[in-house]
Amino acid sequence: MTDPKQGISEADAIEQAKQGHEAAFEVLYHLHKRRVYSLCLRMVSNPAQAEDLAQEAFLQLFRKIGTFRGESAFSTWLHRMTVNVVLMQLRKKGLPVVSLEETLEGEDEAPRKEFGTKDLKLTGSIDRLQLQRAIDRLPPGYRTVFVLHDVEGFEHNEIAQMVGCSVGNSKSQLHKARLKLRDYLKFMRAEKAKTG
């Protein structure tokens, strides 16, 4: 991948970073900073913490760059490293990375029934800010799987391996997260409609 602004390809930047050239590190940072930071921010909902985590992710990457042989895509490597950094932080704080229930219970039916069938379907596109706020409101366990799957595009088997749960658990967590988000978004929309 070549960044015309920098005039240097990612592969070259990696090689030069292995030699310790500061400019090469900087190129790699700018190429991936948004992805890394956004992932951290979505997972912890706290900009200050997200900055610390993004910083740590890049540092770990740069420390190990000597061992990168190019077998997989660099961005994949960085992506996974970032997830590990965040998950480690969540575990350290004692927050649940993923809830442990395996099966989908009927617990979420009640709130949905409140809205009834006559409620507004979430048509068209969802307001990005509202979606961000809704994700922030998710309990940490649900949020992790949702962010990793729907936002970041990891597969369930990858998620299961990273967070240490089963594939079935990952799928049910994701479903619950989406249901909850749907409720929040409908609620926000209803509130907005009230205030006009």
């Binding site: 900009p47 200050a48 913490q49 350290k92 704080k93």
Partner: protein
């Protein structure tokens, strides 16, 4: 205060200065062998004759005085606004005092002669300076003391006990290895203290910046964290203990990686904190209008914030 006998700084004559006479308008001097007044010594033996020497320099505004001695005490107090008076007590003849004046800059240093040791090489200095002069003191053994001043102060010494009292407006910079450091009534300036294993006591110290770094030394603070300042106390293994009144106005962040923390104040929580949420090892939040920022950090020391 003993009456001062001015001593001529010219090399030429060896006649003693007349009582009551002071010579002003001194010139540059290098390694002056100065006419001295020899006071009574405690030992009969000539080898340990303690001698007292007095010097006087005329200075203008923004004077800059530095006193550097390997061994011995240095104490600085305010005197006249246009003069620097130095009294040096030399413990033996194995040490000399070097002096230099370049305009408003005065440099005084002890010069050890061969064979000098910690006892024989000792020179104690008492210095009177213009109250707003800039002062820099170095002594390995100390103690170092500065009182009732308004200029910038630097006090450094590996083993020196450091005492600063009633200083206002200036920068106060203190650095020791083991020497304990005490600041009392220091207001309205930048305070920067670094010690490796010396304890640091701050009583009624406030200002725009109060920064203390210690390795294994403890930090004690008794004051109001006032002036809307930045207070940063950091230790590695030393404990941090702060006592403040109930009406303090500050934003507190405290975190010890391995040690326990304790807090007496009801804190309003903050939105963004950079510390992890280990209840036993950190506390953060605001009291009052959060005018000042107080950051207490330790690797393994205890941190205690108490109400007076």
């Amino acid at each position: 205060m003993a009456s001062l006998h001015g001593a001529s700084l010219q090399l030429a004559s060896r006649r003693p200065a007349k009582l009551g006479q002071t010579n002003l308008g001194q010139t540059n001097v290098r390694k002056a062998t100065v006419v001295t007044l020899v006071l009574a010594t405690c030992l009969a033996s000539a080898a340990f004759a303690e001698t007292k020497k007095e010097y006087s320099f005329a200075v203008g505004p923004n004077a800059n005085i530095s006193v550097d001695t390997q061994y011995g005490a240095i104490s600085v107090r305010p005197g006249s606004a246009s003069q620097v008076m130095v009294t040096a007590t030399l413990k033996s003849d194995r040490v000399e005092v070097d002096l230099q004046q370049m305009g408003n800059r005065i440099q005084i240093a002890s010069h050890l002669l061969p064979g000098a040791d910690e006892q024989t090489g000792q020179v104690d200095y008492e210095v009177l300076i213009p109250p707003d002069a800039t002062v820099s003191l170095h002594s390995s053994t100390g103690p170092l003391s500065a009182e009732h001043l308004q200029g910038d102060l630097t006090l450094e010494g590996p083993d020196a006990m450091v005492n600063v009292r009633n200083v206002e407006n200036g920068h106060v910079h203190v650095q020791t290895m083991r020497g304990p450091i005490t600041l009392t009534d220091v207001r309205n300036g930048h305070v920067e203290i670094a010690s490796i294993s010396g304890d640091v006591h701050l009583k009624s110290v406030s200002g725009p910046l109060v920064q203390v770094n210690s390795g294994s030394g403890k930090i004690f603070y008794d004051g109001d964290f006032g002036s809307g300042g930045d207070y940063k106390f950091t230790t590695h293994t030393g404990d941090i203990e702060a006592v403040a009144p109930a009406d303090v106005s500050a934003d507190f962040s405290a975190h010890s990686v391995l040690g326990r923390v304790h807090n007496d104040f009801p804190l309003q929580p903050k939105q963004h904190s950079r510390f992890s949420f280990d209840a036993g090892r950190s506390f953060f939040g605001t009291v009052g209008k959060a005018a000042s920022e107080v950051v207490l950090r330790s690797f393994s020391g205890r941190i205690r914030l108490k109400q007076r």
